[in-house]
């Protein structure tokens, strides 16, 4: 049930987000082709790995459960710390166990959503920020040759932000009592998938 619900909502939101993604193409119509391509490559990138998608949606969901100020502090903290991770990747600073870290992030964030855990704000921010480093290290460093680094970066960050937005939109269900159960179900799903990724990463 939970899985089906999330799937349907995700599809809907992805279609909205896609429409949003297409809008800027009007504005960029004048920019050289290669440059604009950088923006869209960057934007698509966060949407390319399921582990990544689930963890970021979980951030949005958890934020929605916690309510303000975590609702917006978490989605601000994640991209910033993620780019710190990406910067470390770009500067050649190694981060051990990236894949394991990403899988663990899905496990822990899914667990938080499932339990509707309410730690103090600094603790939740630190948790999210810590795992964001792994995501950034793994995904932020793959600039296709010949594309603008700036536009790729902006696209990448905005793509990530939109994923949080998807999570927050789903999280609006939190207002209704049945919605809370659905959210927890989604948390359970993310937890389950996280365990699967973890098993994949370890073996």
């Amino acid at each position: 049930m939970a899985e089906k619900w999330t799937g349907a909502n995700l599809g809907f939101n992805i279609s909205i987000a896609t429409a949003l993604l297409l809008l800027p193409s009007l504005a960029w119509a004048h920019v050289e082709q290669g440059q604009a391509a950088g923006f869209f490559t960057g934007m698509e990138h966060p949407w390319s790995g399921l582990d990544h998608i689930l963890a970021m949606i979980a951030v949005g969901l958890w934020g929605a459960q916690l309510g303000s100020p975590a609702l917006w502090v978490l989605p601000i903290a994640f991209p910033m710390m993620m780019t710190v991770g990406a910067m470390m990747g770009l500067m050649g600073i190694p981060v051990p166990g990236v894949e394991v870290g990403i899988a663990l992030s899905a496990v822990l964030l899914g667990l938080m959503v499932l339990c509707e855990a309410r730690p103090k704000l600094p603790i939740s921010v630190m948790l999210v920020g810590f795992f964001a480093i792994f995501h950034g290290h793994a995904h932020g460093t793959e600039l296709p040759p010949g594309q603008s680094g700036l536009l790729y970066s902006m696209g990448f960050v905005i793509g990530t932000g939109l994923l949080h937005g998807v999570g927050i939109l789903i999280g609006l269900l939190h207002r209704f009592s049945f919605g809370r159960i659905v959210l927890r179900g989604a948390g359970a799903f993310i937890l389950g998938m996280g365990c699967f990724f973890f098993w994949q990463a370890v073996t």
Partner: protein, 205 residues
């Protein structure tokens, strides 16, 4: 503007210009041709160069968050500083590689995301500094293209852009709308961080 503030601004201007003269750096060389003369080329250049456009928008948003006074200041000082920097850049012959846009992204995005309450004495010089730096780089790029008249177009576009954007933020009343602005600021800062990463990667290889 108190007298002390003007003095500090002046010192900063000299400092920044000194830094530019001393450090080498790379211009972002792509020019826009609108086919409508240099003034419109300048406007087009600003609007289609995210390295300049995003910091300008970020500065307007930040000044808007700080209130009408800061917005007014940015509206007048940013174009003037930009023009001054541009005139300097037009007459310089440099090959510079400071990631200035990345640093502006990081600074301004961070300030917006944190909703940092900087005193007026700092906002003013910061605005001037950003205008000067970006102006110098613009001047370096424009030298090989439309030149001085394009700076006038850029100035006009800056004035309009800053006025509209910061007035927009000043007019926001609901708390959540300010939060949306802060989230956008965090995105700008994050992009800046990534750009610095790219810069170091370029230095390493």
């Amino acid at each position: 503007m108190k007298r002390g503030c003007i003095q500090r601004t002046g010192a900063l201007v000299l400092g920044v210009l000194g830094v530019i003269f001393l450090l080498p750096a790379a211009a972002f060389a792509h020019l826009v041709t609108t086919g409508m003369g240099p003034v419109y080329d300048g406007i087009g250049h600003l609007l289609l160069t995210p390295e300049d456009l995003v910091p300008v928008i970020a500065l307007s948003l930040y000044c808007g968050m700080r209130g009408a006074r800061a917005g007014r200041y940015a509206m007048f000082m940013l174009p003037l500083a930009w023009l001054l920097g541009g005139l300097v850049g037009l007459n310089l012959d440099l090959d510079v590689t400071i990631p200035v846009p990345a640093l502006s992204f990081l600074l301004l995005g961070g300030l917006i995301a944190a909703d940092a309450n900087l005193p007026d004495q700092l906002i003013g010089p910061m605005t001037v500094m950003i205008g000067l730096l970006h102006g110098v780089f613009n001047g370096l790029v424009l030298k090989s293209g439309p030149g001085g008249p394009a700076l006038l177009g850029i100035m006009g576009a800056l004035f309009v852009l800053v006025a509209l954007m910061s007035a927009f933020v000043v007019s926001l009343e609901r708390p959540w709308t300010r939060i949306v602005v802060r989230v956008m600021g965090s995105w700008v800062a994050a992009s800046g961080m990534l750009m610095i990463g790219w810069y170091f990667r370029g230095q390493l290889s």
